[in-house]
């Protein structure tokens, strides 16, 4: 399975959750699969997807917030996994699409290919850390958790032919803010 199909699978179960999506192909693919006002598309600042999601989750505990991040971006800002655990927002789900590659820049290998991100995550103390393939994501979304959830989705490298998102940064921001 490549990223496009993984995002399709995730979006099959989404209802009214807020989504922050990682820069590059993940954003373009999400836009192509299911554009919605509750999607915040990152057009810059690689590495900060997980942190933006944390800021929203902490500021609005009544909404479920999902960051769709990648292994390369998580490695760029690994410390935020520690921050998220220490702040412990129960309304936050971080999904890591782990293809072991920097997909948007030509599929160069990341260190996640050899270093198991889920092991790192568990060692930080996350109570709810899962492999996507081993859970029922629909049921997970329906359940209320007492701590943040991190899901690693193991996939193969590969990009779709999704076009550039036609929205301006301000359009993305304004329509997203109206949904919070």
């Amino acid at each position: 399975m490549i990223r496009y199909n993984a995002i399709q699978e995730i979006m099959n179960h989404i209802t009214n959750e807020l989504i922050i999506c990682n820069i590059g192909f993940p954003c373009k693919e999400l836009y192509q699969i299911k554009d919605r006002e509750e999607n915040f598309y990152m057009l810059g600042s690689m590495g900060l997807c997980s942190s933006i999601g944390l800021g929203i989750a902490l500021s609005n505990p009544n909404k479920k917030v999902i960051s769709i991040d990648g292994d390369g971006s998580i490695l760029m800002n690994l410390a935020t996994l520690v921050t998220i655990k220490n702040q412990n927002p129960k309304n936050y789900i971080l999904i890591i699409l782990d293809n072991g590659a920097y997909g948007s820049t030509g599929n160069q290998e990341t260190y996640a290919k050899n270093t198991d991100l889920l092991k790192i995550i568990k060692s930080i103390g996350y109570k709810y850390a899962y492999e996507y393939e081993k859970i029922d994501f629909k049921k997970l979304l329906e359940k209320d958790y007492t701590e943040p959830v991190i899901i690693r989705y193991k996939i193969e490298p590969g990009n779709s032919k999704s076009p550039v998102i036609p929205l301006s940064p301000e359009e993305i921001k304004n329509r997203f803010m109206e949904k919070i």
Partner: protein, 167 residues
């Protein structure tokens, strides 16, 4: 009024209610004031760039965001400031202890101290340098008003001499 209290009062009058920080020795009294304030969500972060991401999320969710850091952290934040905050027009208040200025005892702080204003200028981020607590309180408040109105980031640099008012 002492140096930290003045900044704190400016923060309160501005209505800032979400703060991230990375420590600087000059900011310790200010941290203690903010930690005690139940109206402010206070999130210590390991690295400033991460803090800019968290603040952006907080702003999207309706909060009034501010980062407290040493000017060295500006260097760690440049890409996030440009390709996140400027790109999406996210208002942000940046309160910085400006090390490497007159009276600096640590030689390692000097290069970044000199570069700091130039980095802000290159990003077109307006900045102010209040010298007294009275001026600081007003500047903090007005800077946030400017940031919010113009959807921009505004920096306030507090040089080493400013913090003598805490002693």
């Amino acid at each position: 009024m002492n140096s930290s209290q003045a900044i704190y009062e400016g923060i309160k009058e501005a209505g800032i209610n979400f703060i991230v920080s990375v420590p600087c020795v000059n900011l310790q009294n200010l941290f203690n004031l903010i930690k005690k304030d139940e109206e402010i969500t206070y999130i210590p972060v390991p690295r400033e760039e991460e803090g800019i991401g968290i603040l952006t999320g907080a702003y999207l969710a309706g909060k009034k965001p501010c980062i407290l850091m040493q000017n060295s952290g500006l260097g760690n934040s440049v890409n996030a400031l440009a390709s996140l905050c400027q790109l999406y027009k996210i208002p942000l208040l940046m309160i910085m202890s400006h090390r490497g200025t007159k009276g600096e005892p640590v030689i390692g702080q000097v290069p970044m101290g000199k570069a700091t204003p130039k980095i802000l200028e290159s990003l077109n981020i307006p900045y102010y340098k209040p010298k007294t607590p009275e001026n600081a309180k007003e500047t903090v408040k007005k800077s946030w008003i400017k940031a919010e109105k113009e959807k921009t980031q505004v920096a306030i640099l507090f040089e080493i001499s400013y913090w003598k008012g805490d002693n």
